[in-house]
Symmetry: C2
């Protein structure tokens, strides 16, 4: 039987231990019965003269990641907040690609707080007496009890059939990743782990 | 001739003047020869009892926005940074949907700085002597001379044929939006304005 392919999205490529995390995620994905497609593998082993041409390097990374997403069956996305109140935007673009491409998208966050709490905390703002929350700039804070923007949280839900899994830990904690692998085993392989 | 449909993505729905901005954007889009599809129109006129059921309301907004993107010919996205170093993640998901759906995606930002400058500024970090930049957490800063993450900036470029347009102004400034309408007139209508 053909092994389903899972694209492993998330901001781990920017962490100091990026190579090690990619290796572990690839191994866990393989052990769960899938073929891992890992964007970190698109960043490695490029010759220095290519890396020096930054815009061309960026285009090549985009193309390689896009092709992985195009051919995958599912995505597991690390949606832990990254440089702000929300998930990494690169990961968010990939989630959108997956949703429109009919892929199953599973997601997890290592910050279990509601988005609204994080957004309020990030800028501290007034809370309007009609129940809506505004940040310090006067911008409305989405308050739906979700992990992130509607398009992220509900997008994952609609495409994969599961809510974004919440736990609490450092950005590279793998608890949620393993839970999503379990979801994927059930949805793609009809197996319960 | 059928008027092409353009989905108007961006964080303006969260601004205090959301209704007014949506009205102006719809008008400009119509005057440029297109049919505007505006997510703000999905948020309005909902009865209070629906608004009170937050999760169901979120699902309805997701579904309505998704359908607009599914049926559009192009997207114009406001990619100005929102609550962090990057574009609004909801907008980023929509950009990803557009790219995978084969839509033309045009984008603009009202913060002309490179992403790397903003990310460094946001957390202040060391700059490694091999030329790479790290933020204060030790996380790598993408430094490709782009407006945002590769997946956002190069995604727009690849799908629409234009780079993200940069200018400088408040988040609701419409300079870039008008430029993108010009791009769209050329690409979708073969007209130069």
């Amino acid at each position: 039987m053909r092994r389903p392919k899972i694209y492993l999205a998330g901001p781990e490529v920017f962490l100091p231990n990026a190579v090690e995390i990619a290796r572990i995620k690839n191994q866990l994905t393989t052990e769960a019965g899938f073929l891992p497609l890992n964007p970190m593998d698109n960043n490695l082993g490029k010759p220095p003269e290519l890396r020096a041409d930054r815009e061309r390097f960026a285009d090549l990374i985009f193309q390689a990641d896009f092709e992985m997403i195009y051919e995958c069956d599912a995505i597991i996305a690390n949606l832990t907040p990254f440089r702000g109140a929300s998930a990494d935007v690169g990961t968010a673009v990939e989630v959108g690609m997956g949703i429109m491409g009919g892929k199953k998208v599973f997601g997890y966050t290592n910050d279990f707080r509601d988005y609204a709490i994080r957004a309020l905390h990030e800028s501290e703002g007034p809370i309007r007496d009609d129940g809506e929350w505004l940040d310090a700039r006067g911008w409305l804070i989405e308050r739906f009890g979700l992990t992130d923007s509607i398009m992220v949280d509900r997008g994952v839900r609609r495409s994969g059939g599961y809510d974004v899994y919440r736990s609490n830990g450092p950005i590279d904690d793998l608890t949620g990743f393993k839970v999503c692998l379990g979801y994927a085993r059930y949805v793609l392989l009809n197996e319960v782990s």
